[in-house]
Symmetry: C2
Subunit: 546 residues, 2 copies
């Protein structure tokens, strides 16, 4: 006796009920052809995740249910387990329906609703109360949704399901990526497998949605906690497992080649950035991007990722030199674009800069040069990029990294102007590591070595270096990790050995830059705490750590 | 026998524990001098509301508790009831402490945590479980915090407190303003008074915090539900009520002149915009603003509000004419600034515009003029305003109204560039009503009649009128109210009688403008649903109403 289960790891688009249901049925048919008894899809795969305030609109919820019913019409055998948003009376559930024989056979409602980090589920959903037990071909199976399995109390639904005889626990998830997240999931589920002595099948979403990217990597553990299946990373995939009864013992086994390899963390992060960017651009109906090439490493990495994601014909580089731009900058920019095979426009900004200064002269007369003129150059560049964006229907990718975004080392409406900020959650030190990876992967110098070797500079005035204003990036990035990602207060930071005066300066810079971040474009979350929905600080705040 | 209670309606600043506690003690001393037995302050008045993710930081929570202890040191008699964020073990409560005899005598933790609209309290707080009963001078008093009293179930803590003998129910709140909100609160509390046959004292916060403005209007009802006290709107205030026992009956009475009048709704909204703007600017350390004066009604109203809030010396107007700018625009702009008494700089943009076009010519050659050139003009103006902002240390106020913000009738980094968007939640039809109010209040024409009379235009190309692109504003504003504020789907909108083709176009415009809103500055919420934390739509969404 055995039960064949297809693991359907799909890339759903928020709100696109029609396309998502077509994709679900396409995967379902594949599952059916390969002899599955049950096809399992991820959390909210019908509506995409997270649908945010679409969930407050009755018409959207109604369409959800209607679309599920239409899908059900096409599901006879095998069964299908499909995540959706379920309106019932005046409540809404984050639910999962078992379809079969052209009917909705049963519905499980998520019990534990995450309301931390990037999650707001208590804003939308009511908690479910049912036990989530199914019986298919004589096998008792427990169903849970994402957070349900993370609950560390004795109330964990999986423990109850196992007590009620479930030998397989299926968890359907939409678990956003950050570096190292697979290990977190794996350790947790191995613990559950051991607690419950049940096999576990974890089916995750894949794809980018605004700030989030879902990495897939659906996996299964047998009741000893051994890995027997892992689906692809950052790609759609269909895999199968089999629940077998041998001499009265129920066992979950994978097929041949059922364990996709994990890649090194640096490649993993690279692929997260690539997929997150690709999905944002394409799901929003664009197919071309334009990037300001500064001659620095941030724009170089951004361009390399974009070229890999969209192809060289779809990426336009623009260099916008000023009198402060060095020859090396121009040479490096040219070389980078040659290496990537992308077009490079050149637009010198000094005639425009001069016309601004002349127009402002009556007002600025007698006042010293200051940050105003630096920002002005950056805003001219932002405006030129947006003009190209408008005229050529290409979305502007911004190039700021997390270190800059943290301390506000950027010009609002200047280098922050654009539709998507590819590396906004990538600290500068990781920008270097990723750039090295890009070249290693290509087997040649895509990003010129001279870009990696030169000290970072904004080139907005004579002989300017980032390090005039900021501490060395390795030190800055450690501070950011402790203060932003781990939310340490100053006393705790001092104990980590950071210099108190420097700390105070950097914390102040981070706190005072909230207004810039609030007006900046979204970008891919790859760390445990990204700016954006993950970290919701007031702009108006007079709280001082020191 | 009687109990004197001081209602302390203060303007707290998020995070400024020190200044807030100084202010609390200042009001407390006033209360003490006037013979109070108890001084009541609003929800979270010690830390400001909402502190958002500051509440995730241990050092902030610790400071909260330490500051409360310091305040307690200075409170002997009268008692003081003070809202604060209360860390206990690994939990945090939205709490309210009774201080007296230099000690923290008891703490009540909020039970019902709002997690809808602008609220995210389940992200931070654990629910309390205690009954919230105090006994002061022999009087049993029930304490609840904001949402607690809104709970419509039999679990409502006020009902339980009344059953346990409380004859006065004190609710400390931080209830954000929208037009008509007082009536909502009043109707609710009157219902509670009747249900419980108890008097109710409602103490609200006052002041602006990012998108929110708290309107004060603390009030009290006797046990028959009659109004016996109302504090000022949009101002700090201290008022008193007395709990008396007469012939065995407990009665709440106000003092003479204890009921501040309510103003007309239009004045109420005006004052909300003024206070929200003033507090944003000042709490963020600015004292001057700069505004692009377009000759239209939106910038005229914004300038009028700013002048009223900061004084004419602190407001700079800038007109930035292009070849498409009419003489009327220039005359009207000049007249407006004369009427308001503010300085007006003039910076013609065509030399800068020409220098952009010349620089872009090699790339744009052979391509038609389109929206690019319109956006370019707007972005030049945004860049000029930001240059003035940098050089003169003045924050840019943007001037877009809710109708434009909804349909994206704006240029990102152009007219949306700035620190605060005063009228972003004000529909265009209300902009007219507010402008008329401004003139009526002044008793003279502050906003020139010619500005109100001319048809709205962006003046970014020849003979351009808003009405070429948009339906009449009274119709558009109705659609926005139904679709954005009431979240109606298209079927429901059709039933309201809107033309289906027009509806489809407008809904599409609203949906597709999310990316612009996400990068726009905050502004004062004055409607039941504002853009921002109140309406969290995904940018990437393929859901179509039609």
């Amino acid at each position: 006796m055995s039960l064949n289960i297809s693991v359907c790891q799909i890339n759903a688009t928020v709100g696109d009920l029609e396309a998502n249901s077509r994709k679900i049925l396409f995967f379902y048919e594949q599952a059916a052809r390969t002899g599955a008894d049950l096809a399992v899809f991820s959390e909210c795969c019908l509506c995409g995740y997270p649908p945010e305030d679409l969930l407050l609109r009755k018409s959207f919820l109604k369409s959800n249910l209607e679309t599920l019913r239409e899908v059900a019409q096409k599901v006879r055998m095998p069964y299908a387990l499909i995540g959706f948003a379920y309106p019932k009376g005046d409540k809404v559930y984050n639910a999962c329906a078992l379809l079969g024989n052209r009917k909705i056979l049963s519905i499980y409602n998520k019990r534990d609703l995450p309301n931390y980090g990037v999650f707001d589920e208590k804003r939308y959903f009511s908690p479910g109360t049912s036990l989530g037990l199914l019986k298919i071909k004589g096998y008792k199976i427990g169903i849970s949704i994402c957070e349900d399995i993370w609950n560390e109390s004795a109330e964990n639904i999986c423990l109850k399901q196992a007590k009620s005889g479930a030998r397989l626990l299926i968890n359907v998830s939409a678990s956003p990526y950050h570096g190292g997240k697979f290990k977190v999931r794996y350790d947790l589920l191995r613990k559950r497998a051991r607690q419950t002595r049940s096999a576990i099948l974890y089916v995750n979403l894949v794809g980018g949605q605004d700030e989030l990217v879902f990495d897939g990597k659906s996996f299964a553990l047998n009741s000893q906690g051994a890995l027997i299946l892992r689906a692809k990373s950052f790609e759609e995939d269909i895999k199968w497992v089999q629940l077998q009864t041998m001499k009265g013992t129920v066992k979950l086994v994978g097929g041949p080649n059922s364990i996709e390899p994990l890649t090194e963390e640096i490649e993993d992060i690279y692929r997260a950035l690539k997929l997150g960017t690709k999905d944002y651009i394409e799901k929003n109906g664009f197919d071309r991007v334009v990037i300001g090439i500064s001659g620095g490493i941030d724009s170089a990495l951004t361009a390399a990722i974009a070229t890999d994601a969209f192809g060289k014909e779809k990426v336009l580089g623009v260099t916008m030199p000023s009198p402060y731009t060095s020859k090396q900058t121009l040479d490096d920019s040219k070389k980078l674009c040659e290496n990537l095979g992308i077009e490079l426009f050149t637009i010198p900004i000094h005639p425009i800069f001069d016309s601004y200064l002349k127009s402002l002269e009556p007002i600025f007369m007698g006042k010293e040069r200051d940050i105003t003129e630096e920002n002005l150059q950056s805003r001219i560049r932002g405006t030129l990029l947006m003009a190209l964006s408008n005229k050529l229907s290409a979305l502007v990718l911004t190039t700021g990294n997390k270190s800059e975004v943290s301390v506000g080392y950027s010009t609002l409406y200047g280098d922050t102007a654009g539709g998507f900020a590819v590396i906004k959650d990538v600290p500068k030190t990781l920008v270097y590591r990723l750039s090295n990876y890009v070249n290693k992967k290509a087997g040649r110098e895509l990003i010129p070595q001279s870009i990696m070797d030169r000290p970072p500079t904004a080139e907005l005035k004579e002989n300017q270096l980032d390090q005039d204003t900021l501490p060395p990036y390795d030190l800055l990035d450690q501070m950011i990790e402790s203060y932003v990602e781990l939310d340490q207060g100053i006393e705790s930071l001092k104990r980590e050995g950071f210099d108190p005066t420097l700390l105070k300066k950097i914390i102040r810079m981070i706190d005072l830059s909230e207004y810039k971040r609030r007006q900046s474009p979204p970008g891919v979350k790859i760390t445990p705490k990204a700016f954006g929905r993950d970290r919701r600080m007031p702009i108006t705040s007079r709280y001082k750590e020191a």
